[in-house]
Amino acid sequence: MSSLEQMYQQVIMDHARARHGAGLVDLDLAAVGESHQVNTTCGDEVTLRVGLEGDTVASVHWEGQGCSISQASVSALTELVEGHSIRESDELYEAFRALMGNRGEDLGDDRDDMLGDAGAFVGVGKYPARIKCALIGWMALRDAIAQAQASGAEGEQHD
């Protein structure tokens, strides 16, 4: 498999087309946060909305436009983090970042399994210019969770 084929694995192409969680919906949850991220070098955009139930990332929806890596990555992370705790989603983010920094090699431990489809982005690590494409959705996720936590805390104060 060439480096190019390693980067554009079938699972990535599938996510770029199927776009899990695409389309923003109104969420009837106490803690909702939204983040808009732009990749200034190419104009790629993601708007991602998170709903929390307690410490659980209950719902992730997004809309965006951009390259197949950026769109597939948001799709894969949506599928991955939904239903996980905030702490677990932080761990997934750290694992994904580590994978991006690993120059195209698997991490070689249980984090590879933990990442599921997101592990297929391993080949992106060989192309430094594309790493931010794969990360834009994760940036939006972390920011949206922080916003949701803030909105939840505000709601509690009003109660």
Partner: protein, 424 residues
């Protein structure tokens, strides 16, 4: 026509991505440098380097001579009336900012009555175009915000040509500055400068030309063009990064207030106040990028040696191959003049949209074949908005680009949609 010049450019001999030959088609972003430039810079550094225009020793003399000879070479390339009309800047962006900030400072009262002709404020307008690179747009947006002037623009037609029919209405008695590109870095279309200059003169507006894409590729004669200022960079014309030039008519440069202050640019400094040198020195505060200027001068000489008419003819041929080629690829759309691949007002470049595939993904597949192109918005977002796309994929040529390079790009482009499984 030009001979095959690849041998003059050492970098072009390297291989990329597992031993593939390099097909460099990103010269619109930055060009590669010939031995003539590399050697001039190295020999200056090894043998003649010293403080320019400071000190009375031999090296200071030699360095000053080389620095000024380089200025004269650049002046010759654009047919400036005198080398004193060429100001060294960090790049073309800095050159445009120098003019915009100078006008801003004059508008704030600097330079007194001598600089009054640059003043603008509420009720005045600045005119740009929809084709501008961000470098020739944002400084004018900022100047408008600073002074209360209004920013207006000339639009593009569907072929990527500027709407000359709008000149008479958009440029009017309120217009003090008209800033426009000589050639679009996305469509490659060369502007009818005379139409802009004629209208600007009717209303007494200053003209500022972004000549980044023209000076490296076309014969440019600033005196014939009739503009007041022109900005261009070293690194797009086979010279180094870190240096560019502002050409301006001497009588204007001499009264444009400086906006970067420091040593070297001054006549008399007391603790209370300062008087400035005439141009170009008044704009060259602080130690200049001397080696880079020497490199840019060598690049000017290299281009002059080739002959800019031949350079332009070479690139017109490449434009034709690129534009005809991509027009024949299914699912690929050209931004700019379509249906007229032989148009003689287009530079040697082609920006395309591949239906169903993002420019970053297009670029990645080409890169895998050793073909290096630019992807994204090319610092021209308003132009891309005009054509309702977020970005494009651009192949751009230079003197060293061969017909085979252009053909390889077209061939590779044809494989992109298949790679991503986009239905035909």
């Amino acid at each position: 026509m030009l001979p095959d010049l690849r041998g003059d450019f050492p970098l072009l001999a390297r291989t990329v991505r597992n031993g593939k030959p390099l097909t460099y088609l990103d010269s619109g972003a930055t060009s590669q440098r010939p031995y003539a430039v590399l050697d001039a810079m190295e020999s200056f550094e090894r043998e003649h380097f010293g403080a320019v225009a400071r000190g009375a020793h031999l090296l200071a003399e030699e360095a000053t001579e080389a620095f000024e000879a380089a200025r004269a070479s650049v002046a010759r390339l654009v047919n400036a009336a005198s080398p004193d009309e060429v100001v060294w800047t960090e790049n073309a962006t800095a050159a445009i900012n120098l003019v915009a900030n100078g006008i801003g400072n004059a508008s704030a009262g600097q330079g007194g009555s001598e600089s009054a002709r640059f003043r603008l404020g509420e009720g005045d307008s600045i005119v740009v175009t929809q084709a501008e690179h961000h470098a020739n747009l944002i400084p004018w947006q900022q100047l408008a915000a600073r002074t209360g002037a209004t920013l207006r623009w000339i639009e593009l037609d569907d072929d990527g040509r500027l709407r000359l029919d709008q000149l008479a209405t958009v440029i009017d008695g309120t217009t003090k500055v008209v800033a426009f590109t000589h050639a679009s870095n996305v469509t490659g279309v060369v502007t009818d400068v005379s139409a802009f200059v004629a209208r600007a003169r009717e209303v007494g507006a200053l003209t500022v030309l972004d000549a980044c894409q023209s000076v490296p590729h076309l014969p440019v004669d600033v005196q014939t063009l009739g503009v007041d200022f022109a900005a261009f960079s070293g690194h797009k014309m086979l010279g180094p990064t870190g240096v560019g030039a502002l050409w301006g008519r001497k009588e204007l440069l001499d009264v444009l207030p400086p906006s970067v202050f420091g040593g070297g640019a001054i006549q008399i400094v007391t603790l209370e106040k300062t008087t400035w040198h005439p141009a170009p020195t008044r704009f060259e505060a602080g130690t200049q990028p001397v080696t880079q200027a020497v490199g840019m001068g060598a690049a000017a000489e290299y281009l002059l040696g080739l002959g800019m008419a031949d350079v332009a003819a070479h690139e017109r041929r490449l434009a034709q191959i690129l534009r005809e080629g991509v027009s024949g690829v299914p699912g690929v759309r050209l931004i700019g003049p379509v249906g007229d691949p032989g148009a003689d007002d287009v530079l040697g470049l082609a920006s395309v949209v591949v239906d169903g595939v993002h420019p970053h993904d297009v670029g990645q597949v080409l890169d895998d074949q050793g073909i290096e192109v630019r992807v994204g918005h090319h610092c021209a977002q308003p132009l891309h908005q005009r054509f309702s796309v977020a970005g494009s994929t651009r192949a751009s040529a230079h003197v060293y680009t061969t017909e085979d390079d252009a053909a390889r790009f077209v061939e590779a482009l044809a494989s992109v949609r298949e790679f991503f499984g986009v239905p035909a």
